[in-house]
Structure formats: C-alpha cells, structure tokens
C-alpha cells in the first residue's frame, strides 16, 4: 500500500517557503495509494493545508516534485489536473442554483447541457439533495451546502478529491453524521481522497491512514489504530487523544521492554525511539488504560496516587491524581456502580500494563 512504485500521488523532497526563510513544508516525502483515504492532521500552521494547495495547483513547491498517476504535475495548471476540491466554507457560487453549481465542472468541460443536467442530478441524488436542485446555495443549511460541495467535487469523476477542513463549520452532531456519509461515499466510489483537518476525531474515524503534521514535517504516517496506540514520538502522543506524559530516565533496555526511573519508582515500559540508557524519556500513558488496583488484581506497574479532583462526565469519571511526580495525572474510570467511592483527598493505587506505557524520546526543543 505504501510502496512508492505503485503510488498514485507522491511528494518527493518537497519544500515550500513563502518568505525565503522559514520552511512551511520541509523535505516532505509521502506516497498515497490509489483509492486510499489519507488524512493530513496537524495544528494550524503545520503545513498540511499548504501541501493540499500544492497538490491542487494553487501553490507551487519551492523545490522537490509532486507526481500524480506517475507524472509530475508541477507544469499542469490547476484546471487541467482533474482534482476535485472541497473547500473550507464550501465556496459554492452564490449566483447559481444548486444544480448549476453541480453542473459547473461538466459545463466547463463542454459536456452538453442535457447530459450535464442529468449527471448533476445523479450526483445530487448521491448526497440525497435532488429535491433542492433549484434552490440557491444561500437558502441551504450548512450541512446541505457541504453535501452540494461534495457532489460538485465528485460529479466530474476526478481521480483524486481533496478536502480542506470541509466539516469545520458544522456543529458537532452534523459533523459526525457527515463523517460517515463521506466515508461511505469513499467506499462506494473508490476515489482517492486526501483530507485535511485539525480534528483528530475526524482523522481517526474516517481515514485509512493519517499523516500527522507538525512544523512542516510528517511526524507519523500510519493507520488510526497504530497512531493512537503506538505513537512514534511525544508530539503525536500528546496531539492524538488524551495523554499523561511522565518524565523519567531510561535505566535498562531489553527486547521490547525497558525500565524507566520516575519520581517515586520504576516503570516497566515499551521502548520507542533512539534514546539509550541514561537518556530522558517521556512515558505516555493513556487515561483509559489506567486502572484502579483492587485486591487480587495484578498489573505490571503499580503506583500509589492521591485523588486531587473528581470530574463527573456522565458515562465516566475523570480523576485528577497526584502521582509519579505529577499533579495532573488523569485517569478515566467507568461510571460503574461501585465507583462512587472516589472522593477528593482519597488515597488509592493505580496500575497499568507495561504494553500501555510507551517510553518516548523527549523532544529536543522541549
């Protein structure tokens, strides 16, 4: 899937700078397979949108090469790339009806108006909006506009569809609904999708693979599950999901296991990264992988902790704990009947499996 020779889209050593000093994208290599749903995830200013715009042809790489279907596309103007783009805020043309909007890519390709209308209606049917064909975009709700934009980007059957934070303007419930809809369209049409978002939930639920961007570099490129459960570095661990980062020093390394000395004890962890014995480590522990040690249960790591705060979340409780030299260690416990006993100031013991403790390198810039 990731082999470069059968890749559909490739970035090769792509660099981009706007002012000649700071690199917005630095030495980016990326291969996207045909039919893949790849998400570029990262905080704002991390270079993900710039990558998308370079792919669409609105920006040009300062150096390096981008290929599409095996051919470099640097010399191809945007309108000849046959890439559908769904923009943030949709960019529906307000002076055209919904149908005219969707038929636009066909009519500029000299498709006869009868055929264009027919195909546009079919595309609208695909997003369940056939009944709104004669409306103006301004008369539609955000979710409906979003679907029109989707139909418009798909109607000319592009090989590649780019989406730039397409769900950013929708409320939470609609966003989740649209996530499924986009995912199902992708499965049905088999089109390659490159999706840009800063919302990790979106990235995890929709994508085949996620590329996490930070400071113009891809920090990790892997499946959502791997991204969450085996983050490659501290940035990814903290950016994706909730994370407790415990500072410590690497004491010994074995095969697939290591020991990290932390304030008040030793943690058995999975070593990730290059740091050798004696180097600083950040041990990443997900709050939901922290267990309250009951009598008779045994865990690879057990630590004493004091409850600083109990936050009620309905289906679960979050405990803010003082432990391992941290005052804000978070543990997530299910709101089971027995768990009403947690009170502020209470002492308890927490445990977690060594496989859930990832010893990551401390990032160089702190």
């Amino acid at each position: 899937m990731t082999a470069t020779n059968d890749a559909f889209v490739t970035f090769e050593k792509v660099r981009k700078t706007y002012d000649g000093r700071a690199l917005v994208v630095s030495d980016l290599d990326l291969a996207i397979a045909k039919g893949e749903f790849l998400t570029m995830l990262g905080p704002s200013g991390s270079g993900k949108t710039t990558c998308l715009m370079m792919l669409a042809g609105f920006e040009h790489p300062t150096s390096g090469r981008i290929t599409l279907g095996g051919r470099p596309i640097d010399g191809v103007p945007p309108h000849r790339r046959d890439i559908g783009v769904v923009f943030q805020n949709y960019a529906l043309f307000p002076h055209m009806t919904v149908l005219e909007n969707v038929a636009f890519p066909l009519s500029v390709r000299q498709v006869s108006s009868a055929e264009a209308g027919e195909r546009a209606r079919a595309a609208l049917g695909m997003v369940h909006l056939q009944h709104l064909a004669e409306r103006r975009p301004g008369q539609l709700s955000g979710g409906q506009q979003q679907r029109v934009a989707l139909a418009r980007a798909l109607v000319f059957e592009p090989k590649l569809v780019l989406m730039d934070e397409p769900l950013g303007a929708l409320d939470k419930q609609l966003r989740e609904h649209m996530q499924y809809e986009i995912k199902h369209l992708h499965e049905r049409l088999g089109v390659t999708i490159v999706y840009v978002t800063h919302d990790q939930g979106e990235a995890l639920t929709m994508s085949d693979r996620v590329a996490v961007f930070n400071e113009g570099k891809i920090q990790q490129l892997s499946t959502p599950r791997e991204l969450y459960e085996r983050p490659q570095n501290a940035f990814v661990a903290s950016f994706i999901g909730e994370n407790n980062a415990v500072r410590g020093t690497l004491k010994s390394v074995g095969a697939g296991a290591c020991e990290v000395e932390i304030p008040g004890g030793m943690l058995r962890c999975v070593p990730i990264g290059a740091g050798g014995v004696g180097s600083g480590k950040l041990v990443s522990i997900r709050p939901e992988r922290v267990h309250i040690v009951e009598d008779g249960a045994s865990f690879g790591n057990v630590m004493p902790a004091r409850i600083e705060e109990v936050i009620y979340h309905g289906d679960h409780l979050r405990l803010r704990l003082s432990t391992m030299g941290m005052g804000d260690f978070i543990a997530k416990v299910p709101n089971a009947r027995g768990n009403q006993r947690f009170v502020e100031g209470g002492e308890l013991r927490i445990g977690c499996d060594p496989a859930d403790c990832l010893a990551l390198d401390v990032p160089t810039n702190g």
Binding site: A56, G57, F58, P77, P78, H79, R80, R81, D82, I83, G84, V85, F87, Q88, N89, A91, F93, P94, H95, F104, P105, V108, R109, R152, A153, F156, L162
Partner: protein, 411 residues
C-alpha cells in the same frame, strides 16, 4: 386567559422596544430632517415649479375664468366683448395695485414684446370705453385684435401648465393650443439633453473600462499595498474640483505638457486640440469621476472570497472561463452601482464642461443655470430639471430591471 397573557406580553415587548426605537430615531432624525429640508423639499419645489403657470389667475381672475370656454371652442376667433371688458377692468386694477410688472414678465415668456404691449396699454387705458372695449383696446394697439395675443393670454390663464415641459422638449402650443415642434432654429433643449446623455454615457463607459481592472487588482493585492494604491485613487477627492479642472486645462492645452510629450516621443507632429472641445471634456470628467466607479466595484470585489475563483479553477475552468462565469457575475452589483453613480453625477456636470468644453459641449445643467440666473425663467429651468430627473429615474429602472435590483449596492 391565554389571550390576555399574549396581550400583556405584547405590551411589555412594545414598552421594551420603545426606548430602543426612540434612541434609534434620535440618532437618525437629524439626517432625516436634513434630507427632507434640503433635498426632498427642493426637488418637490422644482417639480411644482415646472408645471406652475404663474400669477395671472390671481391678478386677472375674471379674465382667466372667461377665457376658459373660449379656449375650449374649436374655431377660435378674437374673444367676445365680455372678455375685453373684464380684461380692461382688471388691467386697470392690476396697474393700480402694482401687480402688473409681475404679469408682464410672465406673459413675456409666451411672446417677446408682450411686456411693452401690456404696460403701454395699461398706461393709455381710459376710464370708460369709447364704443366697445374691443374697439378701445384695438384702438390703443391693433395687436389686441390678433388671435395670437389672446392665445398667449389664454395659455397663461390656468394654474397648471404643460408649457414649460413642452418647451424643454422643444415643443410648444400654437395659437389653437395644438402641440407643435418648435422652429428648428430655436430648438436647443433636446439637442442639449441628448448631448448630455451622450457625454455622460461615454464618460461612464470609459470609467468602467479603467476602473474594473484597477479595482480587481486592488481587491486581489495584499492589504498594505492595496491601501497605498487606494490613496492614489482617492487623492483627487482631496483636491478642489475647480483646481483639478484648471490643471487639466493646463495639461491639455496646445502648448501643454501632454502635447509636448507626445511630440517629443514623435507620436504626433502637430499638437492635438484637446481643450475647448469634446475630447477634453471627456478626459477631464472621466478623471474626476473615476473614484466613484472604483470604490463601489472595489468594495463588492473585496467581498468575493478568493476561494470562489480557486474552486472554479479546480473544477476545470481556465482562468478566463472562471472569471467570466463566477467572478464577473458576482462583481456586477458593484458595476451597477458604479455606473449609476457616475452616470447620474455626469448628467448634472456643470463646471468641467464650462471650463474645458467649447460652445458645442455644454451640458443641460449650464442651460438650466442660464435660464434660472440670466433670464429668470424658473419655470423652464425647473422643467429641464424635471426632464433630467425623469430620464435618470427611468434609466435607473431600466438598468435595475436588466441587471437585477437585488444586486444594487452603493458603497
């Protein structure tokens, strides 16, 4: 019960809203009053003046009344003795009450020479007629036996008249009150109106051609550069119109810098005639009015998200197709507003054509000013103004029908 509650709720809503409404009104009231007093009232006054006939029904009430059946008759001769008698009596009264000059001025518009006829007749009018009043008056001046003189008196005898409006369109009523074209040698108003429309149209078109690309560039440039260029666009606003016009006079004249430069470049061998003719007027007016075209177009373009063009391009439209089908239609409200603004301003232009134009480049406003200030023919001046107003309003409606009213946005 429920109805009561609803009523109470409505009442308290009204109370709550009243303060806000009053405050809002307080803020806008000065402007509303100003507009009313200095804009609506003068325009209404002008409209009234253009159909107001003058003082005759008040000064010669009986004659005016008696002339109406005479005017209605199909075959007109000289009016009968009753009219002559009433006229002679009222003429004497008017002479004593010193209202005669006012009447004479009005009648002079109908027929040059009426003033002296009237004044001389009043001076020589006896207490009692010798024979009939008709014989007496024709004795004083044989003109009183002519239909034309009475027809003129008849035209002035009503309170409302279409004479001025007809005159503004180069038409008049003849002695039988039939509408006729004015003698071509004296027909100046329609030609002047057409010239005004032509110059305004050309200036509007030139402004549009110059302003549209400029506004597009301004709207797509980064903010700081755009602001700098905008100052250049607005600079003319900060200079007096008179100064700007005078400087065009300097630039465009035979020995002026423009002709010098063109000759130095070898583009022309003889200096171009650019002042006191049509090209000069058009160049200067285009320059003066350009900001009024740039600003509305720019403000509309500024509101078009850049994503629209990108979206159109990514969907397969080459730049010009994208521009034609997406950007241009969205910028049309600005174009509409700019064209209307420039055209309406150009129609009323006065100083620039006066200073830079020749005799054949004068616009209708200079005629209006001539009529109002030199000949004191306020009725005709008002009628010309009314015709101009009607043309402007009609153009606005045609234009908004063609382009769509919903899009018109001034600023």
């Amino acid at each position: 019960m429920v109805a009561d509650e609803t009523r109470n709720l409505r009442a308290s809503l009204r109370r709550a809203e009243r303060r806000r409404t009053l405050r809002g009104l307080g803020l806008t009231l000065p402007l509303i009053l100003f507009t009313l007093v200095f804009f609506i009232v003068p325009i209404a006054g002008m409209l009234v003046k253009s159909v107001q006939n003058g003082p005759m029904p008040d000064i010669l009430p009986q004659t005016s009344a008696l002339l109406q059946p005479w005017r209605a008759s199909a075959e007109r001769g000289v009016p009968d003795e009753a009219v002559f008698a009433a006229f002679a009596g009222e003429l004497r009264t008017a002479s004593q009450e010193r209202t005669l000059p006012e009447l004479a001025t009005r009648l002079n518009f109908e027929n040059a020479g009426y003033r002296s006829l009237l004044m001389a007749t009043a001076r020589r009018l006896p207490e009692a007629p010798t024979g009939t009043w008709r014989e007496t008056l024709t004795g004083i001046n044989p003109q009183w036996g002519e239909v034309a003189i009475w027809a003129a008196l008849g035209r002035a005898s009503t309170r409302v008249t279409d004479n001025y409006l007809l005159a503004a369109l180069d038409h008049r009523r003849d002695d039988n009150d039939r509408i006729q074209a004015t003698d071509p040698s004296r027909a100046v108003y329609v030609a002047s109106l057409l010239r005004t429309l032509e110059i305004s149209g050309i200036v509007t078109l030139l402004c549009l051609l110059l302003a549209y690309p400029l506004a597009y560039r301004l709207a797509t440039l980064p903010e700081s550069t755009a602001n700098l260029l905008m100052i250049l666009v607005l600079l003319p606003f900060w200079t007096s119109l008179l100064v700007r016009t005078a400087s065009w006079l300097v630039i465009l004249q035979r020995e002026g810098p423009l002709n010098d430069a063109l000759r130095w470049l070898g583009l022309i061998s003889q200096p171009l005639e650019l002042v006191f003719n049509r090209p000069g007027v058009i160049i200067a007016m285009t320059h003066v009015l350009l900001p009024f075209m740039v600003l509305p177009i720019y403000s509309v373009m500024k509101g078009i998200p850049p994503n629209y063009m990108r979206a159109a391009t990514s969907l397969g439209a080459p730049f010009f197709t994208a521009f034609r089908r997406v950007y241009f239609p969205l910028s049309l409200p600005g174009v509409t507003a700019g064209c209307l603004l420039v055209f309406i301003l150009a129609i009323g232009y006065y100083i620039t054509p006066l200073l830079i134009g020749g005799a054949n480049d004068q616009m209708v406003s200079s005629l209006i000013s001539f009529l109002a200030l030199q000949t004191l023919n306020w009725g005709l001046a008002a009628a010309l103004g009314t015709v101009l107003l009607v043309i402007t309003v009609a153009l606005y409606f045609v234009y908004s029908r063609v382009v769509g009213t919903d899009g018109v946005k001034l600023g």
